[in-house]
Point group: C2
Chain length 380, copies 2
């Protein structure tokens, strides 16, 4: 028997009570039963997104939400600014090009956060930019971009919106959608929301709706305006993923019981314990600055293959983490602490990493990282 532990940056573990809620018999989405669930879920999402705006629910994974956040706000030929500091930043660029936008890309070294000043400069140089695209947390590098600072920069431009991919950020750390003035915030179900993959969520500000009014592009399945009209009546334009929405109702109850401060506090503590723990075991963090509280990207020590660490965690110890992507393959490995996670998930992860490294012949003092993590987790 090999017991399994899921510490990948999505899908993340689904709490048992949510699994059971989703196992309730199916019901119809054009009936009062669904209306009631959906109304509650929509309220809960506003709370979670810290917004008065409608949060659209889409039957798709996160990329579907990203696609709609391009196709609904940019017409072919429109100017877009993308911030590319990793694999998901790159996706913004690809998406904008697919939909015919004229893209200015700010390339950020993988492992670093964008310097907000470069965005300020780009907008100053070209105030005709319609939308700025960024990640709150870049999953491929484990770095958080300062979306609060970016919102302040974009705000004065009356016809430019800020679109934030918060897929591995929302529900992990504080994102004050309305207070900071972020126009579009996207997340997915399988990260901090502790659900299986299959739902994308998008909050849209008035400024963004105004921009959408003028747009000509090929959004059909991801037609935000049509969804907005339907969802305000607790319906969806196309058949919704009913069982996941039932799970979401349960998840939102759990998150409300903990409170936003409670959730963010727990996630921050776990992230800190993970970072200090792996450093206590003699490892180095990959991010050179601004590590995301959602996941920790760890550099493989000199002479050790990062893919071997990732693979041995899974095969020897039943623990699914993640390797590096693209040019970081073999150079880093990543451990997530988003969502349904508590102190002993961190202890286990640090212990397993120590054991794998030792097994690979790397000199590590067993328990050194664990002790560091324990210290931090006790200080709560």
């Amino acid at each position: 028997m090999l017991k399994r532990y899921l510490l990948a940056p999505g899908p993340t573990p689904v709490p048992p009570e949510v699994l059971l809620a989703m196992a309730r018999p199916m019901f119809h989405h054009r009936a009062p039963e669904f209306d009631k669930v959906f109304a509650e879920v929509r309220d809960g999402l506003k709370w979670l997104f810290q917004t008065k705006n409608n949060v659209l629910v889409l039957a798709a994974s996160g990329t579907g939400g990203m696609e709609g956040s391009v196709s609904n706000f940019l017409s072919p030929g429109d100017k877009a600014l993308t911030i590319n500091g990793g694999k998901f930043g790159e996706r913004w660029t690809k998406l904008c090009k697919t939909f015919g936008a004229e893209v200015t890309e700010i390339k950020v070294e993988w492992g670093r956060a964008v310097d907000p000043q470069t965005v300020a400069d780009a907008l100053k140089k070209d105030p005709g930019i319609k939308a700025v695209y960024v990640q709150a947390s870049e999953t491929s590098t484990g770095v958080a971009h300062d979306v609060k600072a970016l919102a302040e920069i974009v705000k004065p431009y009356g016809e430019t919106i800020l679109v934030v991919d918060a897929i591995t950020a929302l529900g992990v750390f504080d994102i004050k959608t309305d207070e900071w003035g972020i126009d579009v915030v996207i997340t997915g179900s399988q990260k901090a929301l502790m659900l299986p993959p299959g739902l994308a969520f998008v909050s849209v500000s008035d400024k963004a709706w105004q921009l959408a009014e003028k747009v000509k592009n090929t959004a059909f399945y991801f037609n935000f305006k049509k969804e907005h009209e339907n969802q305000q009546k607790n319906q969806t334009a196309y058949t919704p993923a009913v069982s996941l929405i039932v799970g979401l109702q349960e998840v939102l109850k759990m998150m409300k019981a903990e409170g936003l401060e409670g959730v963010f506090g727990r996630q921050a503590l776990l992230a800190k314990a993970m970072r200090e723990g792996v450093q206590g075991a003699g490892l180095a963090l990959f991010p050179k600055e601004s590590p995301s509280d959602a996941l920790t990207a760890i550099s493989a020590p000199e002479g050790v293959d990062g893919q071997a660490i990732y693979k041995n965690l899974r095969v020897q110890y039943g623990m699914t983490a993640a390797g590096g992507q693209d040019h970081l393959k073999g150079k880093i490995f990543r451990v997530s602490h988003m969502g349904y996670m508590d102190r002993f998930d961190i202890i286990m992860a640090v212990a397993a990493i120590e054991m794998v490294l030792k097994g690979l012949g790397h000199p590590v003092k067993l328990g050194s990282g664990v002790a560091k993590a324990q210290e931090i987790l006790m200080a709560k």
Copy 2:
């Protein structure tokens, strides 16, 4: 206590063993565990679709599969032929226009099936048509179009594909994808596949892939070629809806145990019993020809509001059916017998319809329709 019965044309009831399978703990989609499940599911889908072609699995509802079947096969300015005999036929027209196609639409009276000769004539007149779009079963009217005949007509045109929305058809009645030569067949999870909504499936023929090679359009999330490349390696381009795919594995096991002939035979028997049953109760079928075995559309009797029938079924008897859409609202109601359905679902439905009609003051002899249904169901 009001016990609930789901007889809407999607979502349909999910078998308890499938609900439980989906409640298993989450696992990662970039790991051998998923590969194994996905490989099995892909094989099963080929069996169900009666094709040697790859069947793409998308995290979306059926409309997502329809959108991709337009955006991946038509460039702006390309010619498309759509068959519009109801709300979903209309969706083909809208989709084709959204993606810039030049659309010829064959309008079919709601309640009738397309005359294949009109399609033959249209193709003869304009052999430059790249794709013909049709429903195998038009859910809004309960009519089946003869896709076998259409496939014979389209086949000789070497650069024209036939795209069949089989969302309420596949797994209900026989669709021999390869033998008949249908290029693209689409279905969704929440119909005959007895799953919650959230997955779309699309089989693509070599002829269709050749067409796709030349296409320029804005497919990103629904980029079939990219999915094809990934899925042949048991991976997906974007995060898959893991829990639904686990449920699908279970569903395919159940369907294989019954066999295609067994499934189609049961569905045909149930459909016949429903049609004869409601006629035995003095009601008329809405389709003037070619009723679909997936669902029965029934005309509301003179002087009785179809919406009242639908509503009373739900409120008084806990039975969720469906009303009419668009100009058929109030004139018809629809009862589904797709998927996880057996003889007593039909008996219950006919009995409930009789009781609702009697309650609305319509003269109906209680048990008259039920007796007719019983007769047919015993003749098996």
